[in-house]
Amino acid sequence: MKRVIKYSLLSTGIAFIIIPLYLTFASSVKETSQITGNFFGIPNPFTWDNFQRVFADGVWTYFWNSTVITILSAILIVLVVPMGAFALVRNMTKNKSFKMIYFLLIIGIFVPFQVIMLPITRLMSDFNLLTIPGLIILYLTFSIPQSLFLYTGYIRAVVPIELDEAATIDGCNAFQTYFKVIFPVLKPMHATVLIINILWIWNDFLLPLLILNRRSSNWTLPLFQYNYQGQYFNDFGPSFASYVIGIVSILVVYLIFQKNIISGMTSGTVK
């Protein structure tokens, strides 16, 4: 009896999650007249027209833009941030100026984005950086507080100083020590940082809206979805197809890396 109650409660929750997703998939293969007439019905006639329309409207460009922005930002984050974190952990105890630097680098955790929203848009416009490279620079910058916080915590906890001392005795300079010895040891934290930042950047909306909205060839997938829905106000079949493309792409990644994603996202926010 207890079991029955438990499963029915859990299944109700699952229905809440799955029904909107099912409706999105179903609507994407319906004609618009059927969406307005019978939103909950089974697709009849079944049609790929909406997908053909979205592809004709260039959804691949936006998918590609999102992919490039996400991957390049992620690579830069893992190249730049752990290096700084390592320098901070090793120097902070004996040198006060590194403590100051640490503070200035992670202060962003407490600052809501709205505080810098307008000045940063102006600044990027003045620098002629309302472009994809400009956006990547911003992702790298805004990833620093949280990623640095995670890396410094990890290095402090699991990377003993004896490791770099041994490398120095073997004749490594600071760069060699870092790249050959320290960077590989940080692998578990690289995974966490990559997951958090990739999901954030892939799904982000406000920054692309501020930086890339002016030129449609630069749009990311979420920005495209938003503008597309506005464009086809009375003809939303293709909009549903654009959501499905977004959902499916993330679903594939999610099903492959599920365990890492769940533990990475929760440990990233919890710490």
Binding site: I144, W202, T269
Partner: protein
Amino acid sequence: MKKSFLSRHWGYLFLIIPIVLQTVFFLTPLIQGFFLSLTNYTGLTQNYDLVGFSNYTAVFSDSRFISSIRFTTLFTIVMIVGQITIGLGVGLLLNEKMPGRGFFRTTYFFPAVLSTVTVGLIFSQIFNYGIPQIGELFNIEFLQTNLLASASTAPWAVSFVALWQGVAMPIIIFLAGLQSIPTEILEAAKIDGATEVQTFFNIKLPYLLPSISIVFILALKSGLTAFDNIFALTGGGPQNSTTSLGLLVYNTAFTFNQAGYANAIAMILFLIIIIISIVQLHISSRFEV
């Protein structure tokens, strides 16, 4: 032996890129943002005058700001209460070993990896075409219109969508918290004849306090700064009934062209978050031994 330049200064070299980026793209706009909040800058022309703190005092007589505070408070409370109760409830249900648990866990977490704006767009369509059809079918009057189109129902509809996605993470956080409870303690309680309610309040709940505090802070921050999903669902309307503070800053700056004033609102939001964070740190340091 004289030490090389590299061995003396490697620390700064390693940090040069983050320092430059943070200074140019974060600290500079942060200071500018504060400065602009003291001006009557419109965002359209380059000239502006210093107006002192008048932007800050102006908020108190601004009906848009007041209704935004009202909505943001409601929305944030719904987020906090909803995420803690639903997250804890589902977490407890999923805590025991049972068939299908992996599937439940995977599905319950999935909304967390979706784009918030996509979720907003999907639900705006569901509210527009889907829900009214249910209302007509079962003849339920209040469902027959678009719930997002009325100022009395829109805040609740928006909160529902935010919770739909927002409970995913708390479920996993609570589940992890529950699994950190040593099994010996739970078994001992069982042998002593403790009821499930007693076990929950006397053993599980104390262990879950850190998780509750984390979910509280996450929900609070996401509530106060909410933007994407509301932007996609209602754009802040109807009649500003769903304009969160985060959205108000955006609209004031880019729609109403009151950039200086928008920055003052952003600074107030910043201040609110600082105050709450300090209070929360004090409270949680008292709980954690």
